[in-house]
C-alpha cells in the first residue's frame, strides 16, 4: 500500500505561475510542495516581467502606457478582470520583495520600454537592474556592442532598428572580438562564466584580465556614447561587479540586452525565484515526471499521481494549484477531436469545427491562442455548466484561457497575479 507524499498545498508546474503560487502560499506559512514534470524552462525566458504591453485585439494600436489603468477596460473574462487590479499589484509587490534591488520598475505604474536583442522595443513592468540603463525612453546616446562569434545579437542591426523605432537617442554599433576565444560556437554561458572568473588573457604579456581586455576592445568605439549595451552575458554569479568594472573602465553606463534562449537573464531570475521558494520553506521536486492521474471524492481531489518510468507515485494535499501552462507548455492538449486539460479533464471551451481554431495568416487572430480553462473568482476551473470542477483545485498562469499573452505581452503579469491569488487562497483553505 502506497502512502502519498503529503503537503498542505501542492502546486503542479515550475514556471512563473507555479513559483508565484508556491511562494505566496509558503509565505503565509503553509506547507507547500511544487512539482514539475521536467526542469523549468524559465531560463529560456527573457527575464523581463511584463504586465500588459498592448491592449487585447489591438490592430496597430501603440503600446499601453499604464497597464494598471488599462486593466479596467479589459473584458470580464480576462484573468486580470477576474482577480482585479489590486491583486495584480499585490502579486507584483511579492515578486518585488523577493527580487529586491536586482529588479527595477516598481517606482512607477507606467511601462518601461526595454531594448531587446533585435532592436525592437518591448513595453514591460519590471526588468533586471542590469537592463535599466538601456531603456529606450532615455535620451543619452547609445553604443551597442556585439561579439564576433556570438550569434543571436548583431549590434549594427539592433542599433539601426532602435534608430528606426524613433528612440530619442543617437545609436552607434561596434562588433569586437571577445578577449578569449574558446571556440567558434561558444554558448552565452561560456562568455558569462569567463566574465565571472575573470582569468588573465593569454598572450597579452601582462596580467591583463578578461574584463579589462573587453573594456580596451570597446573603448575606441565609445566616442560620445553615454551608455553601452552588451548582449546579456555579463556574468551568472557576479553581474553587478562585472557591470561596475566595465562602467569604471569605459566611463559610461553599461547595460545588458535581453537575449533569446538559453537566456542568462532568465537563468538569474530562475535562480532567485527558486532560492526564494527554498528560503520560504517550500519543497521543490522537478524532473520526476508528469502528473498523469488523480483520485477524487465528493468533488474534491484527494491525491494525484506522478508517472515515474511507469510507477505511479502518489502525492496528496488539501489544496491543489494547476500551473501547467498553455498548449506550448503542455498544460492544454489538443488533437483532431478536441481541446482538453489533460490532468483533471477540466472543461476547455473551443469551437467544434477545428478549422475555426486558427486563422489563415501566421500572425492572425487565432482562437487557439486563448484556449484554456475557465475560472471563477476563486480561480477554480469551471465545468461547462459553470460550477467548480473540484472545490480544492485552482488554476494559475497560461493554463487559464481568455487572453492572448503573446499578442498583449501579459504572460508574466497574469502568471504572477493569478499565481499569487491561487496560492493565497489555497493556503487559506488548506
Amino acid at each position: 500500500m502506497a502512502v502519498a507524499i503529503d503537503s498542505d498545498v501542492l502546486v503542479i508546474g515550475g514556471g512563473i505561475a507555479g513559483l508565484s503560487a508556491a511562494l505566496s502560499a509558503a509565505r503565509t506559512g503553509a506547507d507547500v510542495r511544487l512539482v514539475s514534470e521536467a526542469e523549468t524552462t524559465l531560463h529560456h525566458a527573457s527575464g523581463l516581467l511584463d504586465v500588459l504591453g498592448y491592449p487585447p485585439n489591438a490592430d496597430g494600436d501603440g503600446p499601453v502606457v499604464d497597464p494598471f489603468d488599462a486593466i479596467g477596460d479589459l473584458p470580464d473574462s480576462h484573468p486580470y478582470a477576474i482577480v482585479g487590479a489590486g491583486t495584480v499589484r499585490d502579486g507584483l509587490a511579492m515578486i518585488d520583495d523577493v527580487l529586491g534591488e536586482t529588479y527595477h520598475g516598481s517606482h512607477t505604474d507606467a511601462n518601461a520600454l526595454v531594448s531587446t536583442q533585435g532592436g525592437t522595443v518591448k513595453p514591460t513592468a519590471r526588468y533586471p537592474a542590469s537592463v535599466a540603463a538601456g531603456l529606450a525612453s532615455d535620451d543619452r546616446d547609445i553604443l551597442l556592442v556585439g561579439f564576433e562569434r556570438l550569434t543571436g545579437f548583431d549590434a549594427g542591426v539592433a542599433a539601426d532598428h532602435l534608430e528606426a523605432a524613433g528612440i530619442p537617442a543617437e545609436t552607434s554599433a561596434a562588433t569586437v572580438e571577445f578577449p578569449i576565444v574558446v571556440r567558434d560556437d561558444a554558448k552565452v554561458t561560456r562568455y558569462a562564466h569567463l566574465l565571472d572568473e575573470n582569468p588573465t588573457v593569454d598572450g597579452a604579456g601582462s596580467d591583463r584580465r578578461v574584463r579589462a581586455a573587453l573594456a580596451d576592445a570597446v573603448e575606441p568605439s565609445v566616442e560620445d556614447a553615454k551608455r553601452i549595451g552588451f548582449p546579456a552575458v555579463l556574468g551568472v554569479d557576479h553581474p553587478a561587479a562585472i557591470r561596475t568594472e566595465l562602467e569604471d573602465r569605459l566611463g559610461a553606463a553599461v547595460f545588458e540586452i535581453p537575449m533569446g534562449p538559453p537566456s542568462i537573464l532568465g537563468g538569474r531570475l530562475e535562480d532567485r525565484l527558486y532560492a526564494a521558494l527554498d528560503d520560504a520553506g517550500g519543497q521543490i521536486e522537478s524532473g520526476g515526471g508528469p502528473i498523469v492521474g488523480f483520485d477524487a471524492e465528493g468533488g474534491m481531489i484527494s491525491a494525484v499521481y506522478m508517472d515515474r518510468s511507469g510507477s505511479q507515485i502518489p502525492y496528496a494535499a488539501e489544496e491543489y494549484v494547476l500551473a501547467t501552462g498553455d498548449v506550448a507548455g503542455g498544460g492544454i492538449d489538443s488533437d483532431r477531436d478536441g481541446v482538453t486539460e489533460p490532468i483533471f479533464g477540466c472543461h476547455v471551451p473551443h469551437p467544434d469545427d477545428r478549422y475555426e481554431w486558427f486563422e489563415g495568416e501566421a500572425f492572425g487572430d487565432h482562437a487557439f491562442a486563448e484556449f484554456g480553462v475557465v475560472v471563477d473568482e476563486a480561480l477554480r476551473p469551471m465545468s461547462g455548466a459553470g460550477d467548480p470542477e473540484f472545490s480544492n483545485l485552482r488554476a494559475a498562469g497560461a493554463v487559464i484561457g481568455g487572453y492572448d499573452y503573446p499578442a498583449e505581452k501579459s504572460a508574466s503579469g497574469v502568471s504572477i497575479a493569478t499565481g499569487y491569488a491561487a496560492g493565497r487562497r489555497a493556503a487559506r483553505e488548506g
Partner: protein, 459 residues
C-alpha cells in the same frame, strides 16, 4: 502532455491516423516515414528546436572546447547518420553520459537514448582497436575485475594502490595514477547476506520488527523488497548495502537478494551495449521473477536505478523490461511512498553523525530525486545536510578513470569541490558511488550514503 517525450510518438500518431481514416471528413493523413522500426529516433530528432540549452548545460562542453556538445551528438548526428555511410564522430567518446542534456531539454529530445545508440555504433562498428578501447572494455566490465579482486581483497587492495603497479597501469592502460582505487571489502555484501541467514533470517527479523511496531495485521506480502545492490555496494561499500538491510528490516520489510549482474551503466557509457544486453537479460529474468512473487525492486545506487528504469526500456526489447522499470525504485524514494517517514523521523536525533555537504548525483536529479535527502533530514536534530547545488561531480562513472579524461573530469568537478568547501560540513554525502569517489578525491572528505544516516536515525 508527455506524448512527445519518448520514442512512442510515432505509434501514437499511427493510431490516431487510423481513427481518422474512417472519419466522415474523408481526410486521409499518411505516414510518410517508416515508423514501425524499433529504435526509430526520428521523432526525438524532430523535437529538437535548436535552442541550445543542452549545449549550455553540458558540463563537458563547458570545459572541453573540442567537444561539439549534445545538440550535435544527439539530433544532428542522428540526422547525418540517416544518409548512410557516415561514420559516427569519435567525439562521442568524450560524452560522460551525465544526462544533464536530457533533464535540460525543453522539448523532450531523448538524448540518453541517442547518445547510447551512437556510442554503441561507434565502439562496436567504427572505432579502431587500441589500448584505450581494451581499457574501456575492462572499465565497463568493472564487475569482472571486482569479482576477481574480491577473491583476494587484501592483496588487491595492496597492489591496486601500490605506486609501482599504478605507474605501470598509467603507462600501459592509461588509468590515471592520481586516483585512489576503491578499497575492496574483505567480505562481499552477498557473502555477509548469506552468512547472516539470507532471506529466511530476513523474514524473521522483519516479522519481529512488525510485531514491535504493532503491525501484526499488516500482510507480510505488502512489505517485500528485492534488492538490486549493483557491483559497488557488493564489492566495495558494503556498509551502504548493510545499512539498507537494517533500515528496511527495522521497518518490517522482508528482503530478498536475487541473482544479478551489472546494471550496465558503465557499459552504456563505454558503448558496450552488447555486454550490457547480456547482463540485462540476467537482471530482467531474476528481478522479474521476484516481481512476479510480489516484490518491488529497490536500488541504493542512483545510476543502477536509472539504468533499470530508463536505459533498459530505451535500449532493449526484452520480455518483462517495462514491468521491471515500473517496479524499480530508489531505496529512499520507496520508503517515502510506503512509510510515513516524516513521522518516523519526527523528533529523531543523530548527534553522532557529522554534518554533511550533500551532492545530488546527475542520475538522481534525472529521476526527479535530487532533493529528497535534503528534505527528509531537514527536521532531524543534530545533523545538517547542506545541498551543494546542481553541478556535475565530473567523474561520471568510468569517465574520470581514463588518463586522457582525468583533467576534464577534475575541471568539471571544481565547482562542486568549491561548494563543498564553502559549507560548514567536513564530510560529504551522495547516493552515487563514483560521485562519492570524486568528492573524496577532490576534498579529502569522508563520504557517506543517505541510507547510512537513515540507519543511524532509525536503528
Amino acid at each position: 502532455m508527455s506524448d512527445t517525450q519518448r520514442g512512442d510518438t510515432t505509434t501514437d500518431r499511427a493510431e490516431t491516423d487510423a481513427d481518422v481514416e474512417s472519419d466522415e471528413e474523408g481526410y486521409e493523413p499518411r505516414d510518410v516515414f517508416d515508423s514501425t522500426t524499433e529504435m526509430d529516433l526520428r521523432a526525438g530528432a524532430d523535437n529538437c528546436t535548436k535552442v541550445g540549452t543542452c549545449d549550455a548545460e553540458c558540463p563537458v562542453a563547458e570545459v572541453n572546447d573540442d567537444f561539439p556538445g549534445p545538440q550535435f551528438q544527439g539530433p544532428e548526428q542522428w540526422r547525418l547518420s540517416q544518409k548512410g555511410e557516415v561514420e559516427i564522430d569519435d567525439s562521442i567518446t568524450e560524452c560522460s553520459n551525465c544526462l544533464q542534456c536530457d533533464s535540460g531539454c525543453p522539448s523532450g529530445v531523448p538524448f540518453s537514448e541517442m547518445h547510447n545508440t551512437a556510442r554503441a555504433k561507434y565502439v562496436l562498428e567504427d572505432q579502431p582497436l587500441s589500448i584505450k578501447k581494451i581499457r574501456n572494455r575492462i572499465l565497463a566490465n568493472y564487475r569482472t575485475s571486482a569479482w576477481l579482486a574480491s577473491k583476494l581483497p587484501r592483496t588487491a587492495n595492496f597492489f591496486m594502490n601500490n605506486g609501482a603497479v599504478r605507474w605501470l597501469m598509467e603507462k600501459t592502460m592509461k588509468i590515471p595514477s592520481e586516483r585512489e582505487f576503491p578499497e575492496f571489502a574483505t567480505q562481499t555484501f552477498r557473502e555477509w547476506w548469506a552468512q547472516r541467514g539470507g532471506e529466511a533470517a530476513s523474514k524473521e527479523r522483519a516479522a519481529k520488527a512488525r510485531a514491535q511496531r504493532g503491525e501484526e495485521d499488516v500482510d507480510p506480502a505488502d512489505k517485500r523488497v528485492a534488492y538490486f545492490h549493483g557491483c559497488y555496494s557488493n564489492y566495495n561499500t558494503t556498509q551502504v548495502a548493510k545499512a539498507m538491510v537494517r533500515v528496511y528490516e527495522s521497518l518490517g520489510y522482508e528482503i530478498t537478494v536475487p541473482k544479478q549482474k551489472c546494471s550496465g551503466t558503465p557499459m552504456f557509457a563505454n558503448g558496450r551495449v552488447d555486454d550490457a544486453r547480456r547482463h540485462a537479460k540476467v537482471n530482467v529474468e531474476h528481478l522479474g521473477n521476484a516481481i512476479e512473487d510480489g516484490y518491488d525492486v529497490i536500488c541504493t545506487c542512483s545510476s543502477c536505478s536509472l539504468a533499470l528504469r530508463q536505459e533498459y526500456p530505451d535500449l532493449f526489447d526484452l520480455e518483462g523490461i517495462d514491468e521491471l522499470a515500473a517496479h524499480t525504485y530508489d531505496a529512499m524514494e520507496y520508503l517515502r511512498i510506503h512509510e510515513d517517514l516524516e513521522a518516523e523521523l519526527a523528533g529523531a536525533e543523530a548527534e553522532e553523525f557529522p554534518d554533511v555537504a550533500y551532492h545530488a548525483p546527475c542520475h538522481s536529479r534525472n529521476q526527479g530525486l535530487g532533493r529528497q535527502a535534503v528534505e527528509l533530514f531537514e527536521d532531524v536534530e543534530g545533523v545538517t545536510v547542506t545541498d551543494v547545488g546542481d553541478s556535475c561531480s565530473g567523474i561520471s562513472g568510468t569517465y574520470g578513470w581514463k588518463s586522457e579524461k582525468y583533467e576534464t573530469s577534475m575541471e568539471i568537478g571544481e565547482e562542486m569541490f568549491e561548494h563543498m568547501e564553502e559549507t560548514d560540513a567536513e564530510h560529504g554525502m551522495t547516493e552515487c558511488p563514483t560521485c562519492s569517489m570524486q568528492m573524496e578525491h577532490g576534498t579529502g572528505y569522508e563520504i557517506s550514503h543517505p541510507m547510512q544516516l537513515l540507519e543511524t536515525v532509525l536503528t
